[in-house]
């Protein structure tokens, strides 16, 4: 069976995001870019299926600028077999990405597509769901456990206040939650080997997909900053401040 994994290039999780002074977006200049953490989990899960012999081939696909090659190489070093880059300089929104992925699904006919439950840049949590709708496939989102069966997958999902276990018929779309697995480190010998693995490059036009943005960003603002705390000298002072400044006690 073939597994297709999505890998998005995003601003590293630990980078302090700065909003551009004209409020048109965030500053991406010289900012560390990494794999979307949920996609790391997706890749790890696919590679584990491959190592267990459940999957024969793991294909990683990334949609974006040519710089996304870097994230594809990482996925190949982690154990994916080959890569697909759908290259575009357009601002890629979830619907456009879902359409591109749908075209790749048509081309590759994977039994399972694994994507992150969301990308940490836009936090949209839409791509996997829209892909399932467009491709007419079942979906199991927010997965914290995956057990492959015969022609179906049993998936434990993280839902409000607990977990839900469902089965989906294959082919299906799975989106990953944090608890699904602990991604491994890329090993240097594997990074060297990954250099020889193939990456096919397409454009959205090659795939016949219109990726024109549909949503217009009006304004980007940083969250309101918190007032700095103070250290009080004594209990009396604390009580005084709580009573007279914060007015939380009387």
């Amino acid at each position: 069976m073939k597994v297709l994994v999505a890998a998005k290039r995003v601003v590293d999780y630990n980078v302090n995001i700065r909003v551009l002074s004209d409020n048109t977006g965030v500053d991406l200049n010289n900012v560390k870019m990494s794999l979307n953490p949920f996609d790391e989990i997706a890749i790890e899960e696919a590679v584990r299926l491959r190592e267990a012999g459940t999957a024969e081939e793991v294909i990683v696909v990334s949609v974006g600028t040519s710089a996304c090659q870097e994230q594809i190489r990482t996925a190949l070093a982690l154990g994916a077999d080959r890569g697909i880059l759908v290259e575009t300089d357009e601002d890629m929104q979830p619907l456009a990405i879902a359409k591109v992925l749908k075209a790749i699904v048509d081309k590759e006919q994977p039994s399972l597509v694994i994507a992150g439950k969301q990308a940490i840049d836009g936090d949209n949590s839409q791509t996997g769901q829209m892909l399932a709708a467009l491709a007419g496939l079942g979906q199991a989102t927010f997965a914290s456990q995956l057990v492959m069966g015969d022609g179906e997958a049993t998936v434990t999902r993280e839902v409000d206040g607990g977990a839900e276990t469902i089965t989906v018929k294959l082919p299906a779309i799975l989106t990953t939650d944090l608890r699904l697995n602990e991604p491994r480190y890329a090993s240097l010998p594997n990074i060297m080997k990954a250099k020889k693995k193939p990456i096919d490059v397409y454009t959205p036009e090659d795939l016949g997909v219109d990726v024109t943005p549909r949503v217009k960003t009006l304004k980007v603002e940083p969250p309101a900053s918190r007032k700095a705390g103070i250290i009080v000298e004594s209990v009396e002072e604390l009580v005084d401040k709580l009573r007279n400044e914060a007015k939380v006690i009387s």
Partner: protein, 461 residues
Amino acid sequence: MLAQLREIVGHHNVTTEASDLEHFGQDWTRFFKPAPMAIIFPKNTEQVVQIVKLANQQKLALVPSGGRTGLSGGAVAERGELVVSFDKMNQVLSFDETDRTVTVQAGVITANLQTLAMSKGLYYPVDFASSGSSQIGGNIATNAGGIKVLRYGLSRDWVAGLTVVTGAGEHLQLNQGLVKNATGYDLRHLFIGSEGTLGLITEATIRLTRSPPTLKVVLLAVPAMTDTISILRTFDDRVDLSAFEFFSDQALDHVIRHNSIPLPFAVRASYYVLLEYEVKATPDDVAALDAFESCVTAGWVVDGIVGESEQQNRSLWKYRESISESITRHMPYKNDVAVRVSQVPGFLAQVQEKVESAYPEFEIIWFGHIGDGNLHLNILKPESWSAVAFKKECELVSEQIMSIVAAYQGSVSAEHGVGLLKKEQLHFSRSPEEIEIMVRLKDVFDPNGIMNPGKLLPGIS
């Protein structure tokens, strides 16, 4: 006397409570019994001047105390001294964007200075596992090094100015942020690394720098300790290294048990090298891979992993950074020695042979800033040994290790200072003439010998 002290700093800022005396009377070492007379918390330089003047009148010994993360007993008060804690001198006084300097009170915590720099889009590069507790004043008083020395140097390299109060009570402002200042003896540098024996550092002007580029962290599995320097050279020839650390498999064992984290590699090696390099462009990664390949071909390295995100970088650093903490409960006897980088392989081989024959029943943990020629050799106390007997035994064998250090013209304390713990070994690194001049220098700044007496210099109490 307590009343006079309270008059200077206010009633709340002097304590004689038993738990406070115990807490503030010692640093990270656990070999000494804290017994200070009191703890005082000044808020500014003026108060420190008054404390020192009073101490001179009353012949009262003072122990400056920072974050108390010191590893050689420098901030220990075991003989009724007054501990001067900088905990309440924690204000940032000014920031200059053009000079790229920040002036802080000595009690500002190292990590807070790092965060402050970051909030200004700048970087303070002195960093180590204790930076969440240590203070700038303590860092300067010990000339602390850490994990970025290879690229950024020691605390000394970042001090653009100091405000100090000498043991005689003089209030000096030293260098005041100048880059160039060829006007005679630079007293600032005497205070850096003086371990509180000349006076108290009350404020510091610290240089900041531009933020580093993207950093990649690599962990290598290394069979032989003596190959580490060949690995260093191979990488250093090709990429800009910002850290080069090493540790033994025993150290790793403590770390994974202490933190309940998984092993980094499927196979275990005897030693590991953790290195960090700067990525300014894609060719830097290619160069690093090339270095890795050369090391594998030469047989120095058997496997390697790399962090692909900042999160993974941090997790990799944890294998190195939590070593000290993970062995603390075994009361480690710490040797912190250094030789020239070129001498490291020969030195390591000789030390290894010595400790293996001398300490057959002790567990030895090897790690250190090996890219700086700095080795931390930690000997763990077996449960059944008393602290006193253990320390005595360690001191015996230390003498032998230090003779090797001396033969290599190395340092008996690379970055942890001398304090109480290493003062009897000072002579292995410093000549009698040098020590005699240090004693005379102390006398100039501290004529009544009230500043941290019994520390650093042998034979004085």
